[in-house]
């Protein structure tokens, strides 16, 4: 993101034509895409992208790789089923939809804060272990708990409301809902990074000891970051349960937890657009791999992609794209601007060793 911002003034109106093109494409997408592509490819990518965005925010700006973001989203999804209406006959307190949504998102944010409070007491590598342990424990718990989470079966029949004459699970309205939420959080993360809090968080990431010496509360910065990440993941969780219409332990299983990490890392953790690129690639692969290769080895393909990115292109697809772009543009740009650093190699301080 830093690369894009620095250069934004080069374009008329300060808007990069590529960004404008992408925005137009995203808004016009349902007009030419089939229902299947609008809903299952488009909206689902946006939802997964938003969950992964919460991880990117924590990891990219806060240096905290939390594997429990899917758990947070899943918790919001479960709250929707437990507090709202479901067709299973367990729980389903029947709260009005708007209250359920608000409480589900807040509940998810609180869970995220709680996880943060446990994990943020330790540093660096511990985070990944503790959050993974919490994520797996949560999965086992919901799978075995029948009183509240209805165990292995989970809940079905969770529907979004009909509002303004539109049923919000119809492909096109749902797509725009997901797009609006994704865009909102995308911009929030992008511009929030330059707020006092955002800069403070990046300082905590780069050198917690020095920040602490300046009198800034490192722990507080971290758990507030977890709270915001919880709001993002929780909102995406609400969308996810509307998308699926159901929620069961599989949604917070280890596979899904790891998939979110894969999406974030493969997309690129250095900018908020990364997780969305990762999500599109992942969803396309998930749907069409069976037509191209043997579906049986799907996880090998996913794992290899992830491994290659970690080994050779630490900033993911985004970094790859920038490298190609800068190779193409380098002769022209350097003629105009004189010597310009290769953008692919320009990293915010400290992040190069943390991905």
């Amino acid at each position: 993101m830093f690369g894009i911002e620095r250069n934004s003034s080069r374009y008329p109106l300060g808007i990069n034509p590529a960004v404008l093109l992408a925005a137009v494409f995203l808004i016009a997408y349902p007009l030419f895409a089939s229902d299947f592509f609008t809903f299952q490819i488009g909206a689902y990518s946006l939802i997964l992208g938003t969950i992964a965005l919460s991880l990117t925010m924590l990891a990219g700006y806060g240096g905290m790789v939390s594997l429990a973001q899917m758990t947070v989203a899943g918790f919001a999804a479960y709250l929707m089923a437990i507090l709202g209406t479901n067709s299973v006959g367990v729980m389903g307190l029947g709260w009005p939809w708007w209250l359920t949504v608000v409480i589900a998102i807040l509940g998810a944010a609180l869970l995220s804060t709680f996880i943060g409070a446990i994990a943020a007491r330790t540093e660096g590598i511990y985070t990944i272990m503790i959050t993974l342990a919490i994520a797996v424990a949560f999965f086992y718990f919901v799978r075995q708990n029948y009183q509240i989470f209805n165990g292995f079966t989970g809940f079905a029949g969770i529907k979004p409301p009909t509002l303004f004459g539109l049923y919000w699970r119809d492909p096109t309205p749902f797509y725009y809902l997901a797009l609006a939420i994704a865009a909102f959080f995308f911009l929030a993360v992008r511009y929030g990074a330059r707020s006092t809090f955002g800069l403070g968080l990046q300082a905590v990431r780069d050198n917690p000891r020095r920040v602490r010496a300046l009198g800034i509360n490192v722990f507080l910065h971290r758990i507030v970051a977890y709270f915001y990440a919880g709001i993002i993941a929780g909102t995406a969780g609400v969308l996810l349960v509307w998308f699926n219409g159901r929620v069961s332990p599989g949604i917070v299983g280890v596979d899904m937890v790891i998939d979110i990490l894969v999406i974030a890392v493969v997309g690129g953790m250095r900018a908020p657009i990364g997780p969305f690129l990762g999500a599109i690639a992942f969803v396309l692969l998930e749907n069409f791999a069976i037509d191209l290769i043997d579906r049986e080895r799907f996880n090998t393909v996913i794992g290899l992609a992830f491994l290659l990115v970690v080994l050779f292109s630490p900033d993911g697809l985004l970094g790859l794209w920038r490298r190609i772009e800068s190779k193409i543009r380098l002769p022209r740009a350097s003629a105009r601007l004189g010597v310009r650093a290769n953008r692919g190699d320009w990293h915010p301080a400290g992040s190069s060793e943390r991905m």
Binding site: Y29, F36, Y146, G250, A281, L284, L285, I290
Partner: protein
């Protein structure tokens, strides 16, 4: 594939515009099974079942070519729905076969209600409520469900084995609930006892049964065990190692061929264990023998099991029903499949395991097998067929309204006091 984001977006755009061309002389059939994850082996056997039926009909029904498109789930309902949606909405299949497991089946039934012009036929999913409560008018199940599979076992345990009091050990989710219900309902009606306190529900995937074994009561005549696959093998070998001596009664997948053929030391424990299910490996009926021979001919040495599993059997029967009905309507699906579904509803045909027909909620009425584990002539453990229960319906012959009063399956149903 992952090389370049721009290309990916472009691919998305191109794919989004291209709509699948529907040729008039072929019918697209979707096959959904668990081809990934821990259930991959059963899923592949399910697909083998579909292929056997297609082969039998020479890939043609009602004068049209049948094109099979497979989809894969990981046994979670969400992934089953995503795969089904892709097959129906993207690939444009008009007939769906699948899915494999119970909670997937419930999810696909709900989805079926939103696609009234597509005909959904079950794979092997065996949850009761897929057809019993709030059924979908376009979802058909020619295979049977978990409670039906237990037909005859409760009576056998009470009348022949003379058991009066049993403990229950089962995994804690809906399929074992259904099986326990199917076993206990007749057993308790006859006067048997299975106190709610003597029912042990273990988390699915539990490997260490030693503490559960220690907690099993001593004052019962037998233990009814409904565990599957790895869980069953673990329990049986740990029970034998711990010196357990109570006789066992098995659920449909507790002492099936995958368990008996495993390397665990379970011989002493399982010999003499009665069980019941939709197939019996050793049935000497010519129809079943021909089916097994055909399976071996097609898949022996190509990854197939020694003998078709209940997954191959279930998918085969469901696919065959679809093809027979297509023949009846001469492949005409122009009315959104209405005629096809009418034909399916009244279909009655001879399967490798006897006559199959449907009840008003489109659930199969079929024959069930009562088996007992014995030592085969070559020293292997096999299930010997000791009885066939004819034409078992989902409501055990009770009236539908009466049967509903029994309530949904759960840990405590039937209470059996």
């Amino acid at each position: 594939m992952l090389k370049c984001a721009g290309k990916t977006l472009l691919a998305a755009a191109v794919l989004a515009v291209a709509s699948p061309a529907v040729a008039q002389d072929t019918i697209k059939m979707g096959g959904l099974a668990t081809l990934e994850g821990a259930f991959a082996a059963p899923g592949q056997d399910g697909i083998r079942g579909i292929r056997m039926a297609l082969e039998e009909f020479n890939h043609t029904a009602g004068g049209k070519k049948i094109e099979l498109i497979t989809g894969s789930s990981d046994a979670s309902p969400a992934s089953a729905i995503r795969a089904t949606r892709k097959l129906v909405e993207q690939d444009g299949v008009q007939i769906m076969i699948g899915p494999l497991s119970g909670s997937e089946g419930l999810a696909v039934k709900d989805y079926a209600k939103t696609k009234p012009n597509v005909t959904f036929i079950n794979g092997t999913s065996a949850a009761q409520d897929t057809t019993l409560r709030k059924p979908a008018p376009n979802f058909f199940r020619f295979s049977t469900e978990g409670a039906q599979w237990m037909a005859g076992l409760g009576e056998y345990a009470y009348k022949v084995k003379k058991y009066r009091k049993v403990a229950v050990l089962a995994e804690d989710y809906s399929f074992p609930y259904t099986q326990v219900f199917g076993f206990l309902e007749p057993f308790c009606r006859l006067g048997g006892k299975a106190s709610v306190n003597a029912r042990f529900w273990v988390p699915i995937g539990n490997k260490d049964y030693s503490s559960v074994i220690a907690a099993l009561p001593d004052d019962v005549d037998a233990i009814y065990v409904a565990l599957g696959g790895a869980d069953a093998i673990n329990f049986l070998s740990q029970y034998q190692q711990a010196g357990g001596e109570l006789p066992l009664i098995g659920g449909s997948i507790t002492v099936d061929q995958t368990v008996l053929g495993s390397k665990g030391k379970i011989r002493k424990t399982v010999i003499g264990t009665p069980s019941a299910g939709p197939i019996s490996d050793t049935w000497d009926d010519p129809r079943w023998k021909a089916f097994v021979a055909q399976y071996k001919k097609m898949f022996a040495g190509k990854g197939g099991f020694p003998s078709p599993s209940l997954f191959a059997h279930g998918y085969y029967i469901n696919t065959k029903a679809a093809l027979l009905a297509l023949n009846q309507v001469k492949g005409d699906l122009s009315d959104g499949g209405k005629k096809l579904r009418a034909a399916l509803s009244s279909l009655k045909f001879e399967s490798p395991t006897g006559m199959v027909s449907l009840d008003p909620r489109r659930n199969a009425i079929a024959d069930m097998f009562l088996t007992e584990v014995v030592e085969g002539p070559d020293g292997n453990l096999v299930n010997k067929t000791i009885g066939v229960t004819k034409q078992v319906s989902q409501t055990f012959g009770v009236k539908y309204e009466e049967f509903l009063k029994y309530g949904p399956v759960s840990r405590t149903n039937p209470p059996c006091k």
